[in-house]
Amino acid sequence: MTGIYAENSEGVFKKAVLEAASYASQISGGNVTAVCVGMPKDGEAEKLAKYGVNKLIVVEGLNAFDALNYGRAVAANLQNVKNLIIANTYEGKAIAPRIAVLQAASLATNVVELPNTTNGFSIKRGVFSGKGFAHVQLSRENKVIAITPNSIELKENPVSINIEKTTVSSPENLTQITGINKAAGKIPLTEAEVVVSAGRGMKGPENWGMVEELAQILGGATACSKPVSDMDWRPHSEHVGQTGITIKPNLYIAIGISGAIQHLAGVSSSKVIVVINKDPEAPFFKAADYGIVGDAFEVLPQLIAAAKAAKN
């Protein structure tokens, strides 16, 4: 049997969870059980069913996220599951290892493809911060597999879904969340399909209006290079690269970023890379699909106007 952990944000399943469902249904050929904590909103269970989940176990009695109790609840409700698929988000990464220990499973994180099962069970995962991939043969019978968001194509496999409820009676509350600060309405960087990113070439934080506008028109998120967040032009949560966040959007637009090896490490898996830089020798052009050699302050207004027109 195959299972997924269906992380939800206020009762809504994100795309990364649907990708986990799609992965699970493709490797199992049917019979995917999902576990989520807290009742999903109306219509959300059907989203899972569209990608092959035929049973949803809703766990009640737990408070806000806590790796220890959530991990135990998922493991307890998926005891017969051999392959458990999890989205490799912060929450997924927090509980995947805990479940792997409880199920004596092999654990693989940053997985980017469906497994190769011709000879055992081999997965492909990202290593060396975007500079390489490894194929790993997982030896345990039970497996916990955390997949990188935007790696697995969504494949519909509509089924009907049964919902069961269960309650955790006495969670061990060793930790307590004392405050949450979410940037409301913003697309998390790791899940955005379009990312508009800018570097020191933008000269100062006052010029980010154009970057944000382009991102907003394209329905994407904004990111930046390390010096930009170090100088507090932008929040640290936007810093991508080897020491920042690793992302894999369909489209990465880099404006006024030179393309240092540490920056490329975090973004080079993007499907399409566009570079805008006034220096034709900027190393980023070697990693780009499309480019414009030009001044960002001239090019951006044109891109914004054209993107607006294209989206209408």
Binding site: A100, V101, N110, S129, I180, I261, Q262, A265, A307
Partner: protein
């Protein structure tokens, strides 16, 4: 407070990654090894915490003798002593089992790891240790503080940040932004020479998996350039050819 800092030894961030032996091994020729950048942060934070609350900081690494030079650097930064579990770090699960054994023996109040190692990028060890030790685990922390026997953290969550309080013992992982890493000074480097570096034998563990082959990302074709005066053409191509917007 007894704090254990788990330290991974990794290739310098500027390393060009290549593979040898039919792509079955990472090519270490000419590679400079460093303290995993996130572990530099957790080490610095552990020192801050023991300076405020009293206590000691031990650094633990699963690795072979080549790791010793990097471990000395951690001692020079300020750790009191170090443990090297003398084994090849096969994968995150193997490493965590070894560390958990040492932690159970040592009786620590707090164990710190990095958010991930920049070579194998598992991001696993913090959660694995939490589960193996039956402690809470708090990952990707941007703040850590111990006050009156309780640990307080700020951590990244998808789309924001939250603050969490935990009992001790606890295991937590360091995210960028936690602090500025300390660098060793001359006095520290001298002192490090005589600080204890205890080498212990690994325990036997059943295999979790086996790395078979590696590959580099597929190299991009030559970039297609558009005229700066006609940026609109780029949008047209992104929409109708590449189909990404």
């Amino acid at each position: 407070m007894k704090i254990l800092v788990c330290m991974s030894v990794v290739p310098d961030t500027t390393t060009k990654i290549t593979f040898t032996d039919n792509n079955t091994k990472f090519n270490t020729a000419g590679v400079q090894f460093i303290i995993n950048p996130y572990d530099e942060l957790s080490l610095t934070k552990a020192l801050d915490i023991t300076e405020k609350n009293g206590g000691t900081v031990t650094v633990a690494t699963v690795g072979l003798a080549e790791a010793d030079a990097v471990i000395r650097k951690a001692l020079a930064i300020g750790a009191n002593d170090a443990i090297r579990i003398n084994a090849e770090p096969l994968d995150g699960q193997y490493v965590a089992e070894q560390l958990a054994y040492v932690i159970n023996e040592g009786g620590y109040d707090m164990v710190l790891t990095g958010r991930e190692s920049i070579d194998y990028n598992g991001g696993q060890v913090c959660g694995l240790l939490g589960a193996l030790l039956k402690w809470p685990s708090i990952n990707v922390c941007t703040k850590m503080e111990v006050i009156d026997g309780k640990a307080h953290f700020e951590r990244d969550i998808d789309g924001g940040r939250e603050t969490v309080t935990s009992i001790l013992p606890v295991v937590a992982s360091a995210q960028k932004d936690l602090c500025e890493p300390r660098i060793p000074n001359m006095k520290g480097i001298m002192a490090a020479r005589t600080k204890p570096l205890n080498i212990v034998a690994p325990i036997a563990i059943d295999s979790f998996g086996q790395y078979s082959t590696f590959e580099n990302p597929i190299a991009k074709q030559a970039v297609r350039l558009f005229d700066a005066q006609n940026a609109a053409q780029l949008i047209e191509v992104l929409k109708n050819e590449a189909k990404v917007i």
